[in-house]
C-alpha cells in the first residue's frame, strides 16, 4: 500500500509538471537523455556495445556460430535475440527464466533488426539446408531507469555494425564484417495525460498511460512498431508520434554510428 501511495504522489507531480510543459528531470518533451556508447568492449564476443541512456545501462554482445538453418528457411542464416532482465539491474527484476517483460523486449529488439533487413540472412548461408551462420544477439540490462527498448536497440545496432564473423575459426575462409544493409533506430514515446514524451525514464514509464515504440530505417520507413501499457492513443496522437520518431531516430542513428 505504501508503494501505491508513493506512486500516486509521483503521478500527480509528473502530471502537474507536464501541464506546465516540464518533465521531472528538467528535459523537454522531445528531448532524449544523454547517450554514451562504448563499442567492442567484450573481447570474447564477435561484436559488443554498451549504451548508457541516462541512468539506463545496457550491454549487448553478439556471438556468431555455425548451425543448421530452420527447415522452412534452408538458405537463410539464423538470427536469435535474447534479453535478460537480471536482478542486478533493478530490485523489480527477479532471477529465473525470462518473464513477459523480458520476452517482449527481446522480440521488439529482434523485430527492429529483422524487419529492417539490417543484414541479409541469405548472405549468411554456408551450405543450403545444412550449415548457416547463426547470429546470437544477447541483451543484458545492467542498470534500469526506463526505456529499455531504445537503449537495447541502440546497443544492438552498435554491436552488430561492429561484428566480425569469425569464419577463420571454423575453417570457412577469412573473417568478414557482418554485411550490414540498413541501420534501424527506434524511438519510444509515452503518453502521460495528454502529453507525449520521448525516451521515458522509469518514473515516467510507471505513471504513463500508453507507450509506443517505432523502429525506422535510414529512409524513415517504419519497420516495426509496438504499442504497450494499458492505455490508448488517438489517431492524431499516433501521427504526431510518427513525426517525432522521424526526427529523433535520425539523431539517434547518427550518435550510435558516428
Amino acid at each position: 500500500m505504501g508503494e501505491v501511495v508513493v506512486l500516486e504522489i509521483v503521478r500527480d507531480h509528473i502530471h502537474r509538471l507536464a501541464d506546465h510543459g516540464k518533465r521531472i528531470d528538467g528535459r523537454g518533451f522531445d528531448e532524449v537523455r544523454p547517450i554514451s556508447i562504448e563499442k567492442g568492449l567484450i573481447g570474447t564476443a564477435e561484436g559488443s556495445a554498451r549504451v548508457k541512456l541516462g541512468k539506463t545501462d545496457v550491454l549487448v554482445g553478439v556471438k556468431v556460430d555455425i548451425g543448421e538453418p530452420f527447415s522452412d528457411r534452408p538458405k537463410d542464416g539464423v538470427l536469435l535475440t535474447g534479453a535478460e532482465l537480471k536482478p542486478m539491474a533493478s530490485p523489480e527484476f527477479e532471477p529465473g527464466p525470462p518473464r513477459p517483460n523480458a520476452i517482449e523486449l527481446a522480440r521488439v529488439v529482434d523485430r527492429g533488426i529483422r524487419e529492417s533487413k539490417m543484414f541479409a540472412l541469405e548472405k549468411l548461408c554456408i551450405d543450403p539446408g545444412k550449415k548457416v551462420w547463426m547470429v546470437f544477439v544477447d541483451v543484458q540490462v545492467i542498470d534500469f531507469d526506463g526505456n529499455l527498448f531504445d537503449a537495447s536497440s541502440m546497443a544492438a545496432l552498435a554491436a552488430l555494425t561492429t561484428t566480425t564473423v569469425n569464419a577463420s575459426k571454423f575453417d570457412q575462409g577469412e573473417d568478414f564484417p557482418l554485411p550490414i544493409d540498413h541501420y534501424p533506430a527506434s524511438c519510444t514515446i509515452v503518453k502521460i495525460g495528454d502529453v507525449l514524451m520521448v525516451d521515458p525514464s522509469l518514473q515516467e514509464e510507471q505513471v504513463a498511460n500508453a507507450r509506443l515504440t517505432v523502429s525506422m530505417d535510414e529512409a524513415s520507413n517504419i519497420r516495426a512498431m509496438q504499442k504497450g501499457f494499458k492505455g490508448a492513443f488517438t489517431y492524431d496522437e499516433l501521427m504526431e508520434c510518427m513525426k517525432k520518431v522521424q526526427v529523433i531516430t535520425k539523431d539517434i542513428r547518427k550518435k550510435v554510428l558516428g
Binding site: 522480440r107 517504419i222 516495426a224 490508448a232 489517431y235 501521427m239
Partner: protein
C-alpha cells in the same frame, strides 16, 4: 518477403516471382477486394463451465475465448488493492498449424498474451473489482493469419457474456501492405509474402487505439492509409460482436 516459421514450407513449390497476390483489377487471390474482410462468424456463450465464452470463425481461423472471474486473486501478493488484474492467455493448439506446435507457451504466445491483456484492461472497469483477477483464455484451434485479432475480438465478447462491466467491446483486425497496396485483413499467403502487417484494435465508442503492432516496411503515408482502413473495419466487426451478443440475449429471453 516476411518471415514466418510456421507456414512458409506449405508454399514449397510455389514460385513467388510468377504468382501475384493481387491481380490487375485489384482483386486478391481469394477473390476479395483490397478493403474487404474475410467471412466472420461470432457466437457468444458457447461453453458451459466458463463464466463467459465466445467462438469465432474468421476466414480460416477458429478460435475459442473463455472468461473466468472476477474472483479473488491468489496468491495474495499478486493482488492489486485498487483494481482487478486481467490475465489473458493466448494459446495455439498443437494441431492448429501446418507443422505440429509443441504444447506450452512459446515467446510469441507470451508476447501476444501481454499485449492482449493490456488492451482488455483498458476497456474493463477493473477498479470495480479490487484484489480480483479476471482470467481470459484464448485457444486457437485452427490458425490462418490474424489469430490475435480474432482472439481479441472473441475475448471482449466473452467478457461481455460473463457480465463484466466494460467501456466498450474491442473489435480488432489486421491491415497491411501487399505488393505495394494497402489491404485489409491479410490471409496466410499475404501475411507470408506481403510487405507489412499491422494488427490493431480500436475502442469503437472513442476511436482510440489500444492494440497496435507492426512489422514490415511502410512509409508514414502508407501507415496513415492503413490506420484509416483498419479503424473503419473495426466498426464493421463491432456490429458483428453486438449481433452475437444480441442473439445470445434473445435466446435467454425466449427461455
Amino acid at each position: 518477403m516476411r518471415r514466418n516459421l510456421n507456414y512458409g514450407f506449405l508454399l514449397g513449390g510455389m514460385n513467388m516471382d510468377e504468382k501475384k497476390l493481387i491481380n490487375e483489377k485489384n482483386i486478391r487471390l481469394d477473390g476479395r477486394k483490397l478493403g474487404e474482410l474475410r467471412p466472420i462468424k461470432i457466437e457468444a456463450g458457447v461453453l458451459n463451465r466458463a463464466d463467459g465464452s465466445a467462438y469465432i470463425e474468421w476466414g480460416g481461423n477458429k478460435v475459442l475465448a473463455a472468461v473466468y472471474g472476477p474472483i479473488e486473486a491468489k496468491p495474495r501478493h499478486i493482488q492489486n488493492p485498487t483494481k482487478a488484474i486481467i490475465d489473458c492467455r493466448y494459446n495455439m493448439a498443437a494441431f492448429s498449424v501446418g507443422e505440429r506446435k509443441r504444447p506450452g507457451p512459446g515467446r510469441r504466445s507470451i508476447e501476444i498474451s501481454k499485449v492482449m491483456s493490456e488492451a482488455l484492461e483498458y476497456v474493463v472497469f477493473t477498479e470495480k473489482f479490487p484484489r480480483a483477477k479476471i482470467d481470459v483464455y484464448i485457444e486457437v484451434l485452427q490458425a490462418s493469419a490474424g489469430t490475435r485479432c480474432a482472439g481479441l475480438t472473441a475475448a471482449s465478447v466473452a467478457l461481455a457474456d460473463a457480465g463484466i462491466p466494460m467501456i466498450d467491446l474491442l473489435p480488432a483486425c489486421a491491415v497491411g501492405k501487399v505488393e505495394g497496396q494497402v489491404v485489409l485483413d491479410l490471409d496466410k499467403e499475404e501475411d507470408n509474402f506481403g510487405e507489412a502487417d499491422i494488427p490493431l484494435s480500436v475502442v469503437p465508442r472513442t476511436n482510440e487505439i489500444v492494440l497496435l503492432q507492426m512489422d514490415g516496411q511502410l512509409t508514414i503515408k502508407e501507415f496513415e492509409k492503413c490506420m484509416e482502413m483498419g479503424m473503419n473495419a473495426c466498426k464493421d466487426i463491432y456490429e458483428l460482436q453486438k449481433a452475437a451478443l444480441k442473439e445470445r440475449y434473445a435466446v435467454f429471453t425466449e427461455e
